[in-house]
Symmetry: C2
Subunit: 272 residues, 2 copies
């Protein structure tokens, strides 16, 4: 028995999200369908993160266990030749049996993309969020820093979130003005249901002058979803990076930041 780790990308526009649902296409279904055909048996995959309907991933990990003995390049080819054109396997690694794509994940980076134009652009449909107005980048950046650190993010996640511990650590949050609009880039220990989209919507309201960054501490303290405003649309959101080791994470966050770790698990071992 071998444990295989896939690193993949997908375009979320035509998926009902990562996880299998009663209806509609999901990334999990597409992957498990191929594994079932190869094994003549059901094989469960385990992702690092369950992205929502419409959310994209530039880097996602899943692992599974197999009785097949194939070199990594054959695995990659088997998937990519059978997958639809909105999923792509970037890398295949053989990993130790005690590695787990979710439990060994120590952090994630998300990017949210907004384009500013008088009219919506049909070619950006499903892959960026449209706004018509100019936002104040400096104010948004200042406001974003209030999220840094360890907080209970009850106010900034969907009221439907079932997970009990809503404490997460934000390591880095920056708002970037691009040629065509704005990008919101955040690295954290983990994110609750809709959390990035609610934080981004709040920051855009700051950029429009409707809210103040200095309100954030009180909103966090209130532990009340209704205080934080709406949720930005899914189409602008990209899971950009998943950190499977503290070393990788350390490289991408400000020097001297303390990393919040779950009970340490064995490091990822590459055997090719």
């Amino acid at each position: 028995m071998e444990r295989i780790l896939l690193q993949l990308s997908y375009n979320g526009a035509d998926f009902q999200g990562f996880q299998i649902q009663n209806e509609g296409r999901t990334v999990q279904y597409e992957l498990e369908r191929i594994l079932k055909r190869m094994h003549k048996d059901f094989i469960r995959i385990h992702p690092s993160s369950r992205t929502d309907k419409g959310v994209h991933a530039l880097m996602q990990y899943v692992h599974f266990d197999t009785t097949l003995s194939l070199p990594t390049n054959k695995w990659q080819h088997a998937f990519n030749s059978a997958l639809p054109d909105d999923i792509y396997i970037n890398e295949v690694t053989k990993i130790n049996a005690d590695f787990h794509s979710r439990y060994d994940c120590v952090g994630k980076a998300y990017r949210y993309k907004v384009y500013k134009a008088p009219h919506r652009d049909v070619l950006k449909r499903g892959i960026e969020t449209h706004i018509t107005e100019t936002l104040d980048t400096r104010k948004m950046n200042e406001a974003a820093q209030y999220f840094i650190g360890t907080h209970d993010f009850t106010s900034f996640c969907s009221a439907k979130t079932e997970i009990e511990n809503k404490e997460r650590t934000m390591y880095k949050f920056e708002v970037i003005e691009t040629d065509t609009g704005y990008e919101f880039f955040v690295i954290g220990s983990g994110f609750l249901y809709n959390m990035v989209r609610i934080m981004v919507h709040f920051l855009m309201d700051v950029g429009r002058g409707k809210r103040q960054g200095s309100e954030i501490p009180a909103i966090i303290a209130a532990s009340d979803r209704t205080k934080a405003g709406k949720t930005a649309p899914a189409e602008g959101l990209y899971l950009e990076k998943i950190y499977l080791s503290p070393e990788e994470l350390t490289q991408d966050i400000p020097k001297g930041t303390t990393i919040t770790l779950k009970p340490t698990r064995r490091q990822l071992t590459q055997q090719s």
Copy 2:
């Protein structure tokens, strides 16, 4: 009775083409559906160009006749608020009753977009064509010039083309190297079924060193579709501009080029 001209854009990825088919979504259906609801009656629309399945339009025109008397901004709002997010009406104009979006079209510009990357990019799915190899831009540009002028393009259109007169004039053809790949930009009096995609595929083969630009005159002379090679995928193709007057066309093509016109029709009159 008023004649209304719409200028629109659409993302072709999820359409079976412009024209109504027995099955699947079409741009024509989406527009006529809205007109039917507004008029309680069937209203036929007439496009400047019928794009194929998967082909995008940055600028397309359609006209229709209506008994409703609405200002142009109300028409625009009525469409844009009811259309799906892969079609957008950029502009609405009231035109003379003898103007016709197809017969008064004197030229069209198409762009074909190719990205070069070791792996396919799921975020470019449906909107650009993927290649892995470097192409010779200079050779492709030189070859493209063989298409300039008036020729019978039987060899460079689908064998299924039903139209009898296959003579068309190419005014400008350039191949541009971009940050991420290549673009093929062509302006002509008109284009036959699959014609841009067959010319682009041939030019890419020139860029790969498989074919020579100097073969083009003999291929044109042969009037034989089998001589020209394959058809590039639809997803990279954009109808970029439609010329409704010789004046507009003249501005975009090399100075001194003679324009081939159909029997002249009345000019577009803007009354807003």
